[in-house]
Amino acid sequence: MDIKSIKAAVECILFVSGDPVSLKDLAGVLDIDQGTLKKIINQLMDDFDDETRGIKIIEINGSYQMCSKSEFYEFVEKLFKPKAKGGLSQASLETLSIIAYKQPITKSSIDSIRGVKSDACITRLVEKEIIKEIGRMDTPGRPILYGTTDNFLRLFGLKNIGDLPTLKDFD
């Protein structure tokens, strides 16, 4: 398979999938090594940067997904009146930012940083699949440890958790 066909095949697969597809799966089905494919996909992502393109490919935790470019939101909005995604409250955003940087973290640690109870925020974030239970702490009561999900990365346009804005002179 030449590079052109590989690009086309990746575009096709990502379009059909809708959901993210891992580099591993793509390499397997196209029968190419992951390193080479990664380079080709990076090229493909650059191709999508072109101003005649209305869609793009994003990378999330080693998987790729096709999505529309936000520049054209106004047309999409006019035409389809998409359901409001219902953003996040200030309190939920605070809770989320603590979890993002401090994960894995327990509810009581979050409460202590925020100075208030975060139960409602945590419930909402879990429901929206932005955070999830990623384990239990080995202390009495075995409190739940929370961490962020891939959906979190996608919602905030991050490739992986290392992509978070860095914390300056802190901690």
Binding site: F15, V16, S17, G18, D19, K56, Q65, M66, C67, S68, K69, S70, Y73, V76, P82, K83, A84, K85, G86, G87, L88, Q90, A91, L93, E94, L96, S97, I98, A100, Y101, S112, I113, R114, G115, V116, K117, A120, R124, E127, R154, L155, F156, G157, L158, P165, L167, K168, F170, D171
Partner: protein, 238 residues
């Protein structure tokens, strides 16, 4: 469940404290603790209708502030060792700064979220829908269709004098559905609306199920709730 009443605009004691420190335009590393404590307590007094849960947190902070204040009023104890001359405010300042960091980060997150909300993803195709996402000109060709029809046409069947078959209606009635739902609810604490609809064999049955739910709500036999948009709709017996 307690109704959460927001105390002015302050989500918690840290937020209020920050507000006071910023308003007083003082250095966070050198908080005039007596002044700030007074303002903080005045603020608490001003707030009449307080939610108890929140109030306790605000009160804990008031106690902390008072403790720091009293420590600072006391003459410094004789030094036992070098490290023991910690500023009583240090712990509080550390916590305030940590909180401030995340508060600032949350606005960065907010911007990112707003930007990304304008991007859309395609609904994921289920495995059996994949076929449909292709223009299957090579798999389902028109020729195949045409040939099939020609073969049939040469059978020369009589198309006239057709006897029409009866149309059978799905015979699920609203009454049956109502007892079905009530039966379910006598065995289980709650039911999900989605599950009820998914169990339906036909569109008509789904409609009948929906009508049954409406009827049960009207007769106050059941209670239906949804915690947020697009969450699962829960059906409970009243």
């Amino acid at each position: 469940m307690a109704v959460t009443i927001k105390l002015e605009v302050f989500e918690g004691p840290f937020e209020l404290l920050f507000h006071l420190i910023e308003k007083a335009k003082v250095d966070i590393y050198d908080i005039p603790i007596a002044d700030i404590t007074e303002q903080y307590i005045n603020y608490l007094n001003m707030m009449q209708s307080m939610d108890m849960d929140l109030a306790s947190e605000f009160l804990v902070m008031a106690a902390t502030l008072l403790e720091i204040k009293s420590k600072m009023l006391l003459p410094a104890p004789p030094k036992i060792d070098e490290e023991d001359d910690a500023d009583p405010r240090e712990e509080l300042v550390k916590k305030l700064l940590e909180y401030k960091t995340f508060k600032e980060l949350s606005s960065v997150f907010k911007e990112k979220l707003l930007l990304n909300e304008k991007s859309f993803y395609k609904d994921s195709f289920l495995a059996d829908e994949i076929i449909d996402s292709f223009a299957l000109s090579d798999r389902l060709s028109v020729e195949v269709l045409f040939n099939k029809f020609q073969q049939l046409a040469f059978k020369k069947v009589e198309i006239t004098n057709l006897t029409y078959n009866k149309i059978f209606r799905d015979n699920v009635t609203v009454e049956e559905k109502i007892s079905h739902i009530l039966n379910f609810l006598s065995a289980k604490r709650l039911l999900y609306f989605d599950d009820l609809i998914m169990d339906c064999m036909s569109k008509l049955e789904a409609i009948v199920t929906f009508l049954a739910i409406l009827e049960l709500i009207k007769c106050r036999n059941i209670h239906v709730e949804q915690s947020d948009n697009f969450n699962k709709i829960i059906i409970k017996r009243r």
